[in-house]
């Protein structure tokens, strides 16, 4: 097939499975990413359902402690690497070329590979549940020396993360190059939609930190099998060194999972406020500062390891600083809403909820940033509450909002608005019922990663579990809405949302297989 070199001889593409296996089309690849992510979201969410069921009451009921640790670790790992990150890359694939007026991604073949590495990693991770010793049970953070005690599944996890890293790095290089080099004539950097900006910065973070993760898990592997002593005191190594290198990746990683979400929110709000985004320039600077600061705050995950006081103070101050650019973003969103002409279709509902609930998560992050308070709260359910507020009601809910926003463009059909509204309210209410009590649990002293707990934690756990089940059920409704919309529905029209002003809305819905083969003119 490669022998056909004429540029346009390939508008015909193979059909059936071969189309998806060999595709070089950014829309096909974006679709693949999004479906993959949805599958992983459901699977990792199902693991969380078992976690919540076990924690419904004190005592051991459903799973033994080892099994529980596996559920927790794999839930975290799969949500982060399987659900959230691929979903954002899916958005980038669909939207970046459309929003900058490019014919496709800069490296279409590489793009295909970035996707098709994910199932490889997914297969390794799923298979790891069935090998002797069982799947990873040392937390998604993989801390040694506990990690050293694991069986063959731990090696599979390392290799899977290597493959995921490779995929992310290639994907990120592709996105950066596309943005830097394929913008339509006239689209200067400061005219790019904010979503594209957030992805440019995110991709930069990915290229900067995924290789560091690769390095540190390589050290884990050689410590496990080849006799090195990176993380073993007897040989002059240090388990805490793992944590430093891991979090040097890990903290930027959490912004990798939130910056594109900021981009989506910054796209949705102006559309439904029918008003330009407030403070575009300061938004760009805020995103950049968040990214830069994210490299010097990592040790806030390690305050209880006992670092010198100067280290604690430095990392505390640096972490607190991130509240400033993030605050700028929140204020800008509120100012965009202010005196708009607002309507509340499902995407807007999700975007508004994200602004509000993400801020709650940001505040609990700030509480954790203060060393003395973090000493009390580290490794408790307060942290679990914090990161679900930023990850679920920050990242996941903006992904869901983004899906509602662009689904009409991608499929050509409107989704069922009434069901969408139901999904929103169920999700938002159940989410808060699930995770808000976890703040109290953490304050009262319930450690995370435990299958069984003391009696004073029983009531809030029960509430959280009930909320969790409703939250899970609500996501089944989401799957139904998406499938229904893909299969048919009211025609979406070229410009589904009257307030939208980015380039993709100048194309038909769904857009032609190859769009912007001649770049549009931007003034």
């Amino acid at each position: 097939m490669d022998a056909t070199l004429a540029p346009h001889a390939h508008d015909e593409h193979p059909s059936g499975l071969a189309r998806w296996l060999t595709t070089t089309n950014h829309k096909d690849i974006g679709t693949l990413y999004l479906w993959f992510s949805l599958a992983m979201f459901m699977f990792a969410g199902a693991l969380a359902m078992v976690i919540r069921a076990e924690l419904f009451q004190p005592g051991l009921q459903l799973v033994d402690p080892m099994q529980f640790n596996r559920l927790t670790s794999m839930h975290g790992l799969l949500m982060i690497f399987g659900a959230i990150m691929p979903a954002f890359v899916g958005f980038a694939n669909w939207q970046v070329p459309l929003m900058i007026g490019a014919p496709d991604m800069a490296f279409p073949r590489l793009n295909n590979w970035s996707f098709w590495l994910l199932p490889v990693a997914g297969a390794l991770l799923l298979a790891s549940f069935f090998v002797p010793g069982g799947a990873l049970a040392a937390g998604w953070t993989m801390y040694p020396p506990l990690f050293m005690q694991g069986g063959i599944a731990y090696d599979m996890t390392i290799l899977a993360v290597h493959v995921l890293g490779l995929s992310s790095i290639m994907g990120a290089i592709n996105i950066i190059t596309t943005i830097l080099n394929l913008r339509a004539p006239g689209m200067t950097l400061m005219k790019m939609p904010l979503f594209v900006w957030t992805w440019l910065i995110t991709a930069y973070l990915l290229v900067a930190v995924m290789p560091v993760l690769a390095a540190v898990i390589t050290m884990l592997l050689t410590d496990r099998h080849f006799g090195t002593h990176f993380f073993n005191a007897a040989g002059g190594g240090d388990p805490v060194m793992f944590q430093h290198i891991f979090w040097f990746f890990g903290h930027p990683e959490v912004y990798i999972m939130i910056l594109p979400a900021f981009g989506i929110v910054s796209t949705i709000i102006p559309t439904f406020a029918r008003k330009k985004l407030f403070g575009y320039t300061s938004m760009v600077y805020a995103v950049s500062s968040i990214a830069l600061l994210s490299f010097i705050v990592w040790a806030h995950h390690m305050f209880t390891t006992g670092m010198p006081v100067a280290g604690q103070l430095f990392f505390m101050y640096a972490t607190m600083l991130i509240a400033i650019p993030t605050g700028v973003k929140v204020f800008n969103w509120v100012a965009t809403i202010w005196r708009g002409s607002l309507s509340f279709e499902t995407p807007m509902l999700f975007a508004v909820a994200v602004v509000c609930l993400f801020t709650v998560g940001g505040f609990s992050g700030l509480v954790l940033a203060l060393v003395p308070v973090d000493i009390q709260l580290q490794d408790t359910y307060y942290v679990v509450a914090h990161f679900h507020y930023v990850l679920f009601s920050g990242a996941a809910m903006s992904i869901i909002g983004g899906v509602y926003y662009w689904l009409p463009k991608w499929t050509g059909h409107r989704y069922d608005e009434r069901l969408g509204q139901w999904h929103f309210w169920l999700t938002t209410i159940a989410f808060n019922v699930t995770f808000f009590p976890m703040h109290f649990l953490g304050l009262a002293g319930m450690p995370r990663r435990i299958p069984d707990y003391a009696l004073q934690f029983a009531d809030f756990n029960q509430i959280a579990s009930l909320g969790g089940f409703v939250l899970g059920a609500a996501q089944l409704l989401f799957v139904y809405i998406v499938v229904k919309c893909v299969r048919g529905g009211e025609p979406a029209g070229d410009k589904t949302w009257d307030g939208a002003d980015t380039l993709e809305w100048t194309l038909p819905s769904p857009p032609p297989y190859h769009s912007f083969t001649t770049p549009p003119k931007i003034d």
């Binding site: 010793g133 005690q149 005191a233 390891t305 103070l313 509000c356 003395p372 009390q376 304050l443 435990i450």
Partner: protein, 374 residues
């Protein structure tokens, strides 16, 4: 269920976020009541920060919800055209900086106080192992392990759960009230974290490294906490219990421990009939080995090997003793040489060789163990 540590001082701030806990006292909404000055300061710091965040939340979201309601298209509101305001933007960058400085100042002073481990009156070495704490009063010979005391039957829901379910141990750490206690922490296998919320102390115990922390508690009483770092299967079952007693009682307790220790040493100096060794070994096994290898000797498949029928246990004594004394590096099987006395080691090994289906009929004497220790 009635011994909950409650705190009714739950800041209204949380309630304001829209989802307060029900008013019942069953629900603890804040940090547990502090027992040390540091914990008190942390408590106050947290309350202060919470109120500030609550205030900011109102300042930001009251206008937003006002706009969501007032500036709706369905009410016929037309969009105004503005998208910049340099003065406003500078203000909302600078004001948060000032607020953050206001938070950083009190935090810094608490951090400095927490890290000051100098001038302590008593130093206790804490060694963490899967899944127990070992306490050693430095400068004395007193040393003991502290294990979970909650019976397995309660955990498996076969018995009603006790008041201190999962927060009770066989031997708590005993400390005098009113003096500055310094802990030096280390671990043997994986990372654990020693945590007592009421003291405001949480410190990782890191294998091969030494970290320290301190506390001074004034009110006598029992304080409970848990291991706070994922350390494997039984991470949930590794509580910390501290008993603070008046100094005189502490001195008396310490003396008792010293005599008891001398008695143990004397007991290791003679030989025992096999039946007595096995009898004593059963108790040692239950306290130190059953957490992993199980009462039944069947272990947990995939994690801990069965000792019942194990060729190693039924084979030559030397190899059996060696794994118990030195453990197996890189696995959960720890070295017991320093944890147990010669008599206890002799007893537990003799027990394993004769318990369940392992009817080897041989045993080992304390002096033989002593000889192996070098």
């Amino acid at each position: 269920m009635d011994m909950h540590r409650r705190s009714l001082s739950a800041p209204a701030g949380l309630a304001g976020l829209g989802l307060a806990g029900p008013a019942g006292a069953e629900f603890a909404l804040n940090l547990p009541p502090p027992a040390t000055e540091i914990a008190q300061r942390i408590h106050d710091l947290h309350t202060l920060i919470l109120w500030i965040c609550f205030g900011i939340f109102l300042v930001v979201f009251v206008p937003m919800f006002y706009a969501l309601w007032r500036h709706r298209k369905s009410r016929g509101h037309a969009a105004h055209d503005f998208h910049e305001n340099p003065r406003l933007e500078v203000a909302w960058t600078v004001v948060p900086v000032l607020i953050l400085i206001g938070m950083a100042v009190p935090s810094t002073s608490v951090v400095l106080a927490m890290k000051d481990t100098g001038a302590s009156e008593l130093t206790v070495k804490v060694t963490a192992r899967q899944w127990k704490w070992e306490y050693e009063y430095l400068g004395t010979e007193v040393r003991f392990a502290s294990n979970l005391a909650t019976p397995q039957a309660q955990i498996e829901n076969r018995e009603a759960k006790g008041e201190h379910y999962l927060l009770e141990v066989d031997r708590p750490l005993v400390v005098p009230t009113g003096s500055k206690i310094r802990l030096v922490l280390t671990a043997e296998d994986v990372i654990h974290a020693w945590w007592v919320p009421a003291f405001g102390v949480k410190q990782d115990a890191i294998p091969g490294f030494v970290r320290d922390a301190w506390f001074r508690v004034d009110a006598p009483g029992t304080y409970r906490g848990q291991c706070a770092e994922l350390c494997g299967v039984n991470h949930a079952f590794m509580p910390v219990v501290v008993e603070a007693v008046p100094p005189e009682r502490f001195a008396a307790w310490l003396d008792e421990q010293k005599t008891a220790r001398a008695a143990v040493q004397a007991a290791s100096a003679r030989d025992y009939p096999l039946a007595e060794l096995v009898e004593r070994g059963k108790a040692v096994y239950a306290a130190h080995c059953a957490a992993c290898h199980q009462e039944s000797g069947k272990g947990l498949p995939g994690a801990f090997p069965a000792l019942d029928g194990s060729p190693l246990v039924k084979g030559p004594l030397a190899a059996h003793l060696a794994i118990v004394l030195d453990g197996k590096p890189g696995t959960a099987m720890q070295a017991f040489a320093k944890q147990l006395s010669d008599l206890e080691l002799a007893a537990v090994v003799s027990y394993e060789r004769n318990a369940w289906g392992n009817k080897t009929g041989d045993g080992v004497q304390p002096r033989e163990v002593a000889a192996l220790r070098k």
